[in-house]
Symmetry: C2
Subunit: 459 residues, 2 copies
Amino acid sequence: MPYFDAASAAPLHPVARQALQAALDEGWADPARLYREGRRARLLLDAARETAAEAVGCRPDELVFTPSGTRAVHSGIAGALAGRRRIGSRLVVSAVEHSSVLHAGEAHEAAGGSMAQVPVDRYGAVDPEVFAGALTPDTALACLQSANHEVGTEQPVAEVAGACREAGVPLLVDAAQSLGWGRVPEGWSLLTGSAHKWGGPAGVGLLAVRKGVRFAAQGPADERESGRAPGFENIPAIVAAAASLRAVRDEAAAEAVRLRALVDRIRTRVPELVPDVEVVGDPLRRLPHLVTFSCLYVDGETVLAELDRSGFSVSSGSSCTSSTLTPSHVLRAMGVLSEGNVRVSLPAGTSEQDVDRFLEVLPGVVAAVREHLGVPSAEVRPAADSLVVDALGRRCPIPVIELAKVIGDVPVGATVTVLADDEAARLDIPAWCEMRGQQYVGESPSPKGGTAYVVRRVS
Amino acid sequence: MPYFDAASAAPLHPVARQALQAALDEGWADPARLYREGRRARLLLDAARETAAEAVGCRPDELVFTPSGTRAVHSGIAGALAGRRRIGSRLVVSAVEHSSVLHAGEAHEAAGGSMAQVPVDRYGAVDPEVFAGALTPDTALACLQSANHEVGTEQPVAEVAGACREAGVPLLVDAAQSLGWGRVPEGWSLLTGSAHKWGGPAGVGLLAVRKGVRFAAQGPADERESGRAPGFENIPAIVAAAASLRAVRDEAAAEAVRLRALVDRIRTRVPELVPDVEVVGDPLRRLPHLVTFSCLYVDGETVLAELDRSGFSVSSGSSCTSSTLTPSHVLRAMGVLSEGNVRVSLPAGTSEQDVDRFLEVLPGVVAAVREHLGVPSAEVRPAADSLVVDALGRRCPIPVIELAKVIGDVPVGATVTVLADDEAARLDIPAWCEMRGQQYVGESPSPKGGTAYVVRRVS
């Protein structure tokens, strides 16, 4: 049963399991105690810190273990902002950061600070010059992910780090998605990671803070982990996290080549096999194991459920999934289609056969969903004048389907106005126009409520 | 090799190990995902929540899992204080709470709030009437541990809960030390716990918040655990925590009787076997497995090291251990001797033989430390006039040893003045006077620096 959602959580690496079990016997005691069980626990913790620091590329005393990647991000951002409170209270982030970064920024805003989001291009990458332009003198901290968690695009970390150094602004790099594949380019001031993304256990994040970076840990004091991560250390999990990070790194070079080829196959074949698909994210500067595409006239929830029934576990950034009500902020920032969005992220060891079977199954799944939703065929119908389609109260992907149904009914030069109140339409109607070579005219509030989106037929 | 520090961390219960290993296979995926691995993880998480809620005595939707007991306390206090911000900003705690509570209170003070510490008696318990008196109309939250972590004394939780209810103040009960032994008495509004204290794995805390209690989670938003505990859930550890809580509870009644008898043996025998010892904490209203005593003229670090050499792992609230520079705030609040402090907390399954061997070993260990430090014998020396002893710059237990050396040299009615700058002397010199039937006169700043402690010989 192929699991293709490594970017959410990778299955436990065998080395992690082995290390965890061994450390349950040796690492359960309090490492702050001086008796033998405490000393053994301390030795394990120190060794794990050495291993993790070597993988990250920092000194052991620069790295602490947190209970999760999210907590590493929250603590890292709060501590760095507080450490530079006198310089200013501006936080600069890319618009496609992980929600943990954006939520930390929102908490900062709620406390009186400001957050600036640097836009991204259609591939999801920031422009280093645009990023540099956002680094005002009152900027306390900048954050940039090493690679995007939804579309796999690598960010120009080295260039942005250079700009930050020049501006005297510390840079926090969220390396959650890439740490298993290799080190982050030099130049970061703070770095965060998450063990369960690389095949380590849940319950372990990393926060590295370079010596010399001003940092004031927030929240109640605690003596553990240099005062940067309160609470009793989870040593068995930390040991497993460090051991598996080393193990996946040893396998990373070869596995990256193999998975990159499998992802390239998906990137090439999906648009050939499935009509009206947009593969998103940078085709070259990307994570080796991750690809995302969006299918017109399909809702994410149904396609996920159908793929699950066929044995494939994937995720989606569509708005129409039960866990979210708005389209992914990443797809929105990229300005690409969000409907029928499918993210495939291959865990290490994924077989060619599983990928090929996915490519066999996908076209039928998408076609069935479209048929069920009554998606129009491409046949030409007699032209009418400009039309208004009322899709108020209908959820994604219905507004786009209704648009597609009638675009052939109006003459070239005439318009279709779609009335819709689902937030996804704002993203998906312009994306549909771009994909179908029609002209997106614009939007205005609809007198009947919701928004009126105007599309001109040009082909 | 007997490990007698269960109050720091209990060895992993066999049920915890078994559950953890099983859940590594089934519970590694993201429980927010809808595919089969996600659904399996969600089922495990839901089942663990049911089990833990049943053990705690609350509804499953009142309970979230946090990364540690410390984080449960931090989040619980911050959320409850924020939820009642309009009522006031006063936090009332007992003076002997765990440091996580006091540190959360200090963070609250740093943010402009206030914290009142309710004193305790010589056994370490609060007086419910005194606690009730501290509940002013602007009190946002009260905190009381179920039982003390250093001396084992149970607090009058039911009575204090009644007073809180009457005053309309929510009560947070830190049940970290007692949850493995049974439910907390009714009446709490928030409850916290820590799995590694009952034989569960590290990395899991509990935070229960009764429906109807005003609660506003602090820090960056996150959708997991009802928005009260950010970060990817550590489901294998959570499953192990819940399973082991149920298991230790099933064994608790019988094991409590057995360990209570062993602790009573220690409480009775230690003062018989070791001269100049004070057994602290309530002899009856106490945790079944924990006893603490302090040995005059002994430093905690050395006695711990010697016991470790003899195979016994215990901890100490003395100031003279490498991890602390001041005596335990608990012993200080109780006004009891802190020097030569030894805490024995027996894990479930501790054998009678191990306890007896400890009682065999202890007298020799204490005697050797005393001999090494040059503690005076009890023989009578010719009386002199009042004396001044300069122990400036000398660490605990030297000031008390110097006092004991010369008390016999002054006539009854005359005084010994001890000059000392070790913070522990403030606690230990009065405690020594009480133990030896001498009169503690008081302290004043010493013209040579430090403090002058005046003791009158009365016997």
